[in-house]
Symmetry: C2
Subunit: 600 residues, 2 copies
């Protein structure tokens, strides 16, 4: 089936003289999660992970994906032509290196007729420009005005047009008028007259509007163009109702048709345009005819630093979420070994417990409930073809979250379902230590996640073990649970924007893990709120407050392997969990929680 | 006296229409340590620290220096016009920002006649270009062909011309021919045809030649120009004897007069020239008339990664050095309270013990022996005007090192001379923990000092304390004890080259400290050799080997504040110190060392 699709694609490529065709995982807005309409890479490769790039030539079909998905991709690519390239591994070429090498190798064959193809509306501007340069250097051309996969894809899902709604100021903490003012100030600082925005989360934040165009990401697919006076929102009419239209009109925001952004952008001349070439597509970039200021969207940092109202709300969201997950843990511990539970049962249970919370909107991503070796796949998701039955031994890893009017959560717990091997216990303890050491960091203002990451990683690196991903990411407010520019990671790469300096009000996940292929997966994820600590002659010290309130499974901890300091941090955390969550529990649950947050 | 000099400088400035004059701390080669001939900034300000920039305008005289020197500079500037700007402190402008602001403020006054002055042979090319741009933007001009301080400086020291000598291959581990080949390979990689080198340590490394032009830095002031065939060394004839001339001739290295570099450089046209604009002076930059490839000197990384012969030698140097410092510690502990010891006595004693070692050449920098509150000045040096008598209480900090044919050392120990306050003991223990935690790091290949620095800093940051400098720096082989590109530091600044990825064979100091103004200073400094550890599916792990062998004063440690892991690291280190050093000690010293390296 997939091999048939690849061959059909090759036929289309031949007809157009395309030598190599690139299918990234993206939508028109460089979104991380994409609606089904845009899942072209999945359509052609069969790989269901959230990140990856497919490249098809006449000879080969290749898929690149990162450390979170190595195991899953290997499994899903079985029986099809696609060859897996593990991004970030020693000696594995990047997509660009592969294509460059391919171009070199085939110069003779294609002479001046080499052609690099991709859908310009989907590829990131910066990547497109890279290929443009590569093409120029090799007398090749670019083919980018057509979505070839669309030609192959019968019954393609429809383009999403969900209902937009307004996020009230008691939740957003800041009016659209104020946000527009803030953005215009930042534009002035960067000497920009105009600003084009295509990042759907940035737009949702700016307009205080949410929707449902992307599964579990409450946004509207749209673009925005603003200068010092005007602000135009390019959006499909179907997304908007009377109330939202009135709200927009009250805020002097002009509504224009979604597709008009390209021609409106082309018309801008003689002005300085602020655009983030890493956050717009290649076609938008190609529509720019005026001086460009290529810099991160100012909205990115503004929305990452949560305002006091947002912080207060988010803490409320985490209490609700903590109640749901704690109740789930109680249920799990009391049901395992008595009734049959599958991974999907577990996911359904936790989703249901979240849905019972006030102001619940949606889960914030597909719940991962992965038993035993399945959890070694960082982003595994059970389905009808693969749905393990939990046994009263080993680990169940549950990574889940909720969207509430008060904000979004992202939490992972790994639960002991019964007997554990010595190795499992040792690794669980190491992961807990990683998590706690990072959470307890005290640091001078100016530090980034690149400075702090090793606090989480060292307990595992000491054992010769690593997790092949960052330690944590920012989290949006009723937006994508993966948000920049704050993060914890150690690799400093020139091609990736630097992690941001931690500011008071930033929220970042802390999620170290151990993933042993074929054996088990362990991850403990809390969210950390960055706060100011003391300021003295040495500068402004900063610290984190853990705002996730769910016990860490003491059944899996070997306390002897923890330092006194680590035990103290854990005990203090557990006391806080008990104080915060117990008021919302039944007497039985409360008693159970008391014991499971005991001092060790 | 100093105010008189400033006013004389202002007279010279007025005569030339100079509005602001910049006096950096440098020589013609952007050396960190400079010979007395070049101490113009010290001449005008009276501040004796090794780093700082003076700026003189008609209204103000200012000095910038960094955290190592805040306390010392405040003291030394007393009674003179110079105002201290503490680099790196909150809201303190940089030199450039200050000048920019000054230019703005005085545009009216000076109209188009504003002029920025400096000695172009001394200012770094990159800084000069910055001022060039600033001048252009403000219709100002640059005055850079004269050294104004020279006009004021009667009895200026003479230009140094020490005897060059050859470092044999049994010490350097690699012939000059091989090094030239390596550099030419790197030039090819960067597509360069020609390469100009002005860094005196890079040149010494490349030619396997040492000298004595800079106090305690065994180099010859010179420049070098090479292409794929030729190599010219621009050096004063007085530096060279017959043996060295023959050696150079054998290696096909042409000797040309020191001052000819500028005109020879001007003649190069139509070729691609590799030059590091951060490591050449502005006059050299202004002499370039051909296409420039501005990149770090390839010599920098090549010389930082010590070859196996160098590593073996350096370990030998550290044994000799450890014997000297351990003997010093024995003497100190047995003499304090019995005889009068001053800071200078202590320095003299340790210098003498080093001088007794085989193949000793020189101390590697002026010994810092700082008692009590004097040690709060990171780079304090006792002299005839300030030379404290040691009392049998508090701390003596000794930061010292030696040059041997087998390499250079840099070590700091802080010794308890008797009774300590609770705070002193607590801080000493925290510094020891900092030092040990960094030394014990296990990390994946790819980490830089920016990733690892927090391992040293966290035990102090937890207490709300910081040291206002990096945690450590590379160390040259019979060269400057401060060497890039490897270092431990946390601030990631765009204006400073990134810390290098740690490679096997790099040697970096690990020297956290606590400096309490008016009270005490504590620093523990060891040198760490980077080595490969296990390689597995997660990548290549790296680790450090501590190659400094001197006890850490157990009299000052509060073992209760250390984790079990930290105690184990210390105990293991002390066992190694005993094994390595005891064979070279007298029986009494040996017995004493046994006790002072006991397990805690």
């Amino acid at each position: 089936m997939r091999n048939k699709r690849v061959n059909e694609l090759r036929t289309l490529m031949k007809e157009r003289g395309i030598s190599v065709y690139i299918i990234p995982t993206s939508d028109y807005h460089q979104s991380e999660y994409i609606s089904d309409y845009f899942k072209t890479r999945q359509f052609i490769t069969g790989f269901t992970g959230s990140a990856g790039t497919a490249v098809v030539t006449m000879e080969e079909a290749c898929l690149w994906t990162d450390g979170r998905y190595y195991i899953q991709a290997e499994k899903e690519l079985q029986g099809c032509e696609f060859k897996l390239y593990k991004m970030g591994m020693d000696k594995v070429p990047t997509v660009r290196e592969y294509i460059k090498e391919y171009v070199k190798k085939h110069t003779d064959k294609y002479k001046d007729k080499f052609c690099i193809g991709f859908d310009g509306q989907v590829l990131c501007a910066r990547d497109g420009m890279d290929y443009e340069r590569l093409a120029e250097e090799n007398h090749a051309r670019i083919y980018c005005d057509e979505d070839l996969i669309d030609r192959l894809w019968d019954n393609r899902p429809t383009f999403p047009t969900s209902q937009a709604y307004i996020l009230e100021e008691k939740y957003s903490g800041k009016s659209t008028a104020d946000k527009l003012r803030q953005v215009r100030e930042k534009m002035k600082e960067r000497k920009a007259d105009v600003h084009v925005l295509s990042d759907v989360c940035d737009i949702a934040w700016l307009l205080n509007i949410r929707g449902n165009d992307i599964r579990h990401v409450p946004v509207i697919l749209s673009c925005l163009l603003m200068d010092m006076e005007k602000c135009c929102w390019y959006v499909k009419k179907e997304n908007l109702n009377e109330k939202v239209l009135n709200y927009l009109s009250d805020n002097h925001i002009e509504v224009r048709d979604y597709d008009l952004i390209y021609q409106d952008l082309q018309k801008i001349k003689g002005q300085k345009l602020l655009a983030d070439l890493g956050r717009i597509n290649y076609k938008l970039k190609s529509s720019i005819n005026t001086e460009l200021i290529d810099t991160a969207n100012p909205e990115q940092l503004l929305k990452a630093v949560k305002n006091p109202t947002e912080v207060e709300n988010i803490k409320i969201a985490h209490i609700k979420d903590g109640v749901a997950v704690t109740k789930f843990m109680y249920w799990l511990k009391h049901t395992i070994g008595r009734e049959t539970i599958t991974e999907m049962d577990a996911a359904q249970c936790i989703n249901q417990l979240r849905a019972e919370q006030e102001h619940y909107i949606d889960i914030s991503f597909d719940t991962i409930a992965a038993y035993g070796e399945n959890a070694a796949m960082m982003h595994y998701e059970a389905d009808n073809t693969c749905n393990a039955i939990l046994e009263p031994k080993g680990f169940l890893l549950v990574d889940s979250g909720g969207h509430y009017l008060e904000g979004s959560t992202d939490i992972t717990r790994t639960f002991a379902l019964g007997e554990l091997s010595e190795e499992e216990r040792k690794m669980f303890t190491a992961v807990v230590r990683s998590n706690l050491n990072l959470a307890a960091a005290k640091f001078l203002y100016g530090c980034t996640g690149e400075n702090l990451d090793i606090l989480a990683r060292e307990p595992l690196w000491e054992l010769g073990i690593d997790y092949r991903c960052g330690t944590g990411h920012g989290n949006g407010y009723l937006l994508n649970v993966h948000e920049g520019p704050n993060s914890f990671r150690w690799r400093i790469q020139e091609t990736i924007p630097r992690a941001a300096v931690f500011e008071e009000g930033m929220i970042t996940t802390d999620e170290p893990g151990v993933y042993e292929e074929g054996k088990y997966g362990i991850r403990i994820e809390n969210e950390l709120l960055c706060k100011r600590a003391i300021k003295n002659e040495y500068g402004q010290f900063m610290e984190f407050e853990t705002i996730t309130y769910v016990p860490i499974d003491l059944d899996a901890i070997n306390a002897e392997e923890m330092t006194l300091r680590e035990k103290n941090i854990l005990n203090e955390y557990h006391q806080k969990v008990y104080r915060t969550i117990s008021p919302y529990l039944t007497d039985n649950e409360k008693e159970w929680l008391k014991y499971n947050t005991r001092r060790i």
